[in-house]
Symmetry: C2
Subunit: 137 residues, 2 copies
């Protein structure tokens, strides 16, 4: 005997997320052990569901209007250690194991500019060559 | 001799922020020494400018449509240690010294629910009584 319709995995968690008018929620990725904040991106319900199901982080690309499996092109993927939700349900914190670098510039984190003397000053250098990560584009 | 118009402090940094159609940018607050991610909120240019100028974190409250000087009511303020900007300029990382608790529920962090067995499970208890922080409302 099979059940008529399998319940959606993680439905209770996904139902607790308050997606915005675009169907999106902000997601902050943090390296689980060092605590380094790597990036902020967006998820729709499908991306969050896939991430929980597969354990590999999948965002929603607002520029491409498509699912964005982090690292699919560059190899710099994120393995999900834990997904957390904030008090009002409109932000996610992803504890991840980051392979290589998170930023498309080849830096470990996207937050590599700091306010210093009124200007945005680069405080981290690339660790990888974007051309090598993404091919000569 | 006085200069005709004083330049806006931090103008170069503020100009590097790409505010969205609502004039807002997402801001992630992280305890500077422990690395704990405390909350995600929003800033407009005025809030970011005030935060840089005063060293006390000021957000923009989307629900109240007003500047939100964190801790003004509760006393649980955030002192800015450093403000960072991401690669595409549409997210801020605030390294802060958090007084007491960041969350209005009395918890240290707003991200106190984790995806466990498909549901959102509370993984942190309140450290402060919200009624004491905000008065009996």
């Amino acid at each position: 005997m099979t059940s008529p319709a399998a319940p959606e995995p993680n439905a209770a968690f996904l139902d607790a997320i308050r997606f915005d008018g675009r169907g999106l929620v902000a997601a902050v990725a943090q390296q689980h052990d060092s605590g380094e904040v790597l990036m902020l991106a967006w998820m729709n319900r499908e991306a969050a569901a896939e991430t929980l199901r597969t354990g590999r982080v999948c965002y929603w690309s607002r520029s491409r209007g498509a699912l964005w499996r982090k690292g699919e092109t560059s190899g710099q993927e994120q393995r999900l250690v834990e997904m957390r939700l904030d008090c009002d349900g409109d932000a996610l914190l992803l504890l991840v194991e980051q392979t290589g670098v998170a930023c498309h510039t080849g830096r470990r984190t996207c937050f590599y500019r700091a306010a210093r003397d009124g200007a945005a000053v680069e405080i981290a250098a690339p660790e990888a060559d974007p051309a090598a990560l993404y091919g000569q584009r």
